[in-house]
C-alpha cells in the first residue's frame, strides 16, 4: 500500500491507497503515529482505499479515542464497500464520516 500524508499546521490529512489489512495495518498505524503530534484536526481520506479489515478498524478506533481528546477526526470519501464494513461493525456510530 501507499500512504500519502499532508500536514498543514494543526491539520493532518492521511490518504491510504490500496488495502488496509493484517499485512499493511502496521504501516497505516505508523503513518498516523509519526505525524499526529500537535494535530488538532485529522482527516482520513479513503478515496483510494479498496477495503479495510478488522486490523484497520482497530487502528481507526484507537485513533478516534486519541483524537476525541485532542481535537477532531473525520473520514471522507468512503466507498459503498467500506461504508458496509462501518455499518456491519457499528463503526458508523463512533466515527465521523462525511
Amino acid at each position: 500500500m501507499t500512504i500519502n500524508t499532508n500536514k498543514e499546521g494543526e491539520k493532518l490529512t492521511i490518504i491510504p491507497e490500496g488495502r488496509i489489512d493484517t499485512v499493511t495495518a502496521p504501516e497505516f498505524s505508523k503513518a498516523i503515529d509519526d505525524n499526529i503530534e500537535g494535530v488538532k484536526e485529522l482527516v482520513i481520506d479513503f478515496e483510494k482505499l479498496e477495503y479495510i479489515s478488522s486490523a484497520g478498524l482497530r487502528i481507526l478506533l484507537t485513533t478516534q479515542k486519541t483524537m476525541s481528546k485532542l481535537g477532531t477526526m473525520k473520514i471522507i470519501h468512503v466507498s459503498d464497500v467500506i461504508m458496509d464494513v462501518f455499518n456491519i461493525t457499528g463503526f458508523v456510530d463512533i466515527l465521523t464520516i462525511e
Binding site: 493484517t22 499485512v23 479498496e50 477495503y51 478488522s54 476525541s68 464497500v81 461493525t89
Partner: protein, 134 residues
C-alpha cells in the same frame, strides 16, 4: 484449485492473489470481491496467529465454484491446534468508542458478509468453509 503455503501473515497476500485471480475469471462484482478478500484476511491471519504459534505450519486454501445459483466456496485447512473461531461471542457493536473492544470483530464481519460459514475438526485438521453467492 488450491494453494498450500506456510501459515504466516505475509502469505495473506499470496492467498488473496490466488483467490482474486479466480474471482476475476468469474467476473465477480467488486463488492463481493472486497468482502471475500476481507474474509480471507480475517481467517488466514487467524490461522497464522493461532494454529501453530510459535511454530510455523502450513495452510491450504481451496477454491471451488458452484452453479445454479453461482457461488464460490473457499475452504481453509490447517493441521494446527483445534480452534473454532465461530464459537467466539459476537462483539457488542452498540458500545461507545471509549468502551469498545475490537476482539471478535473480524470473524463477526465474515459471518455477516458470507452466505454461510462452517467449521469442522476432522482428521486432525481445522476446516473452515465460507460460501458466497455471486
Amino acid at each position: 484449485m488450491e494453494i498450500t503455503v506456510p501459515a504466516t501473515i505475509e502469505n495473506v497476500e499470496k492467498v488473496t492473489g490466488f483467490v482474486n485471480t479466480e474471482l476475476d475469471k468469474l467476473g465477480c462484482p467488486s463488492k463481493a470481491k472486497a468482502e471475500i478478500d476481507i474474509a480471507i484476511d480475517e481467517l488466514f491471519s487467524n490461522i497464522a496467529n493461532y494454529a501453530y504459534n510459535p511454530e510455523i505450519g502450513k495452510a491450504t486454501v481451496k477454491f471451488e465454484v458452484q452453479n445454479n445459483p453461482q457461488a464460490v466456496v473457499i475452504t481453509f485447512m490447517d493441521n494446527g491446534k483445534p480452534f473454532d473461531p465461530l464459537l467466539r461471542e459476537d462483539p457488542n457493536i452498540k458500545l461507545a468508542a471509549e468502551d469498545r473492544d475490537i476482539g471478535g470483530l473480524g470473524i463477526f464481519m465474515v459471518k455477516k458478509t458470507m452466505d454461510s460459514v462452517e467449521y469442522e475438526y476432522k482428521d486432525s485438521h481445522n476446516i473452515l468453509k465460507i460460501k458466497k453467492h455471486l
